[in-house]
Symmetry: C2
Subunit: 392 residues, 2 copies
Amino acid sequence: MRIEAIDFFYLSMPEVLDIGDGSQDALLVRVVAGDQIGWGECEAAPLPSIAGLIAPMSHSACKPVQASVLGQKLDSVADISRIGDLVRANSLDLLQADHILSGIDMAMWDLLGKRFDTPVYALLGYKEIFPKTPYASMLFGDTPQETLEKGRNARAMGYRAAKFGWGPIGLGSAQADADQFMAAREGLGEDGILLIDIGTVWKDDVAAASLRIPALQACRATWLEEPFVSGALDAYRQLAALTGNVKLAGGEGSHNYYMAQHMIDYAGLGYVQIDAGRIGGLSVSKAVADYAQAKGVTYVNHTFTSHLALSASLQPFAGIENDVICEYPVEPKSLALDITQNHIQRDANGQVHVPAAPGLGMAINFAALQPYLIDVEIRVQGKTLYKTPALA
Amino acid sequence: MRIEAIDFFYLSMPEVLDIGDGSQDALLVRVVAGDQIGWGECEAAPLPSIAGLIAPMSHSACKPVQASVLGQKLDSVADISRIGDLVRANSLDLLQADHILSGIDMAMWDLLGKRFDTPVYALLGYKEIFPKTPYASMLFGDTPQETLEKGRNARAMGYRAAKFGWGPIGLGSAQADADQFMAAREGLGEDGILLIDIGTVWKDDVAAASLRIPALQACRATWLEEPFVSGALDAYRQLAALTGNVKLAGGEGSHNYYMAQHMIDYAGLGYVQIDAGRIGGLSVSKAVADYAQAKGVTYVNHTFTSHLALSASLQPFAGIENDVICEYPVEPKSLALDITQNHIQRDANGQVHVPAAPGLGMAINFAALQPYLIDVEIRVQGKTLYKTPALA
């Protein structure tokens, strides 16, 4: 069968706040081939991604993404890989392309899984899958007291692990950060797995990061995430030599296989975090998971949005028994929850399981999404190249 | 003074062909502050870049690029650097952002240069500048005979150096490529500087590349450019150990400082090629030029389009005496030539000089550009977020 349609849907909360919460809008992707429909999600700025899907060609290596997908044969896993390679070659100079491809790749896996009545993890080659320990992914409070309460709340909700990130961290003094770290530890309890996310605030400033090491060790953080921007390999490696038991985590900014590989090879990471909605989809994520295993680095998903994205992000390492921790969005906006009818719930042990249903195993909640649908129209030389399609 | 306006102009040839010629469209940038106007050019897909300039915010680290530029103070070189940092932080998750920033950064330098009546290279800190030896940048012919004639033509036009790239190279047999390489050498003459550009066709396949080494050595290529995609560091380094006198060149795909740094540190390059229209503008290009000097790697501009882009791309290494070779577009489409009223011509010795005039030293040819101007309209929730402005 051939890919007949790719539709992008820009969804948004009525108000988008200037905070580090990536669940305030979404870019949902529908791929149609034969009598099958697959769904995916780009973790990407919606409007530039829509534009990159449908833009006029600039030259042979700067084509719109749909040029390499529409009309392509989609009968096997090898076809997904081939289409990904086509996009990367034909859209080499379209920077946004990897983010755009990500949701399309997920949707192709979902579609093939439904067609073959098989979960995606099985198509990826996993014979056996293992439960994951979710960490509650939350923003730091504006004050240590707020963070303390958030930590208590996470524990009360039964989370054994929690990550605190962004908010005021790194913007004030080292002491202010230390107070936040200790509040998080106190809230989460002595035996909780505490993860700290800096959100790249220190860019590549090893000295600024180093000032926080004693507090990170004192609060017994399992990892220090994104002290620096993705790609600041030297800064990462220098810091990794100084943090002792606190391992570095990073990689969510990777938008292709090579960038993740460089983080694994040269940044001294203990954990590589991959967002399947940015790196080019499930296909690339699985390749990174394989490489991480070979290099002794733990793979972790990066997911802050919907349970469609969560299912997609769990598939690439569902069969890796030792990579236990997974990110689990605990306070997403209503939009993120409303994307799917079903949700990936924690079991009695507080663990999560990748869906056993065909494809990604998630059902889109069309009715709930209507109020979030953003009407977009892009016209070039008087011709409409994109108009928001009906979501049904 | 403060930045009052940023305008993007999408320009295109009437017909865009499916060939590796990046001069078929352009994205011109105008920045206005006080009574000054600066011009720049993004080497980027126009429509997604326009969308990324004006898109609604997704979250605090995924803002449209204009959010970090409009209204900002622009009185000094430090302001340009500060604005660049703002864009990189506030648009961290907008993948297209570096390409969008590139043209804005150029325009800010042009504007400040005009305001201070100073060429940009002087603002960049160069006290003395040096002429460059331009290479004619051309596509391979469809046949060796065509390539031979192109080489003869370059020599007849007085070029001492020529680069042949893309076209059929790497798509057929090693022998077919060898015939093309030898035709290029024959056409250019025994004493010409011959440069070969593979256009990333081998992706990261060292074996495929290795098959071509004897022919590359036989034709005495000075460099082998982009055998692999940017970021395939291992493949580059492995190949670099095998090519002897033929040095590797690459880096044009870098869209931030770190990617160029990785190519210099880990890819075994002899030449690092930077497109100021992709990497974030002149500011980042200059930082890479400085780093390359420190690491003993030769800096070369990547320029395939207009003389506005050429002026911008020459500034970052104008004062580096030993980095002599520069890319010079020899067969651009009429659009690229029509962007400026004046052009950077070769002198009697066949060398080129960065303009001595204030700013980038180029005058926009408004009248000539009108037929190329593409009318774009982007509407979100019934509101027009972008409409092609008047170009005058």
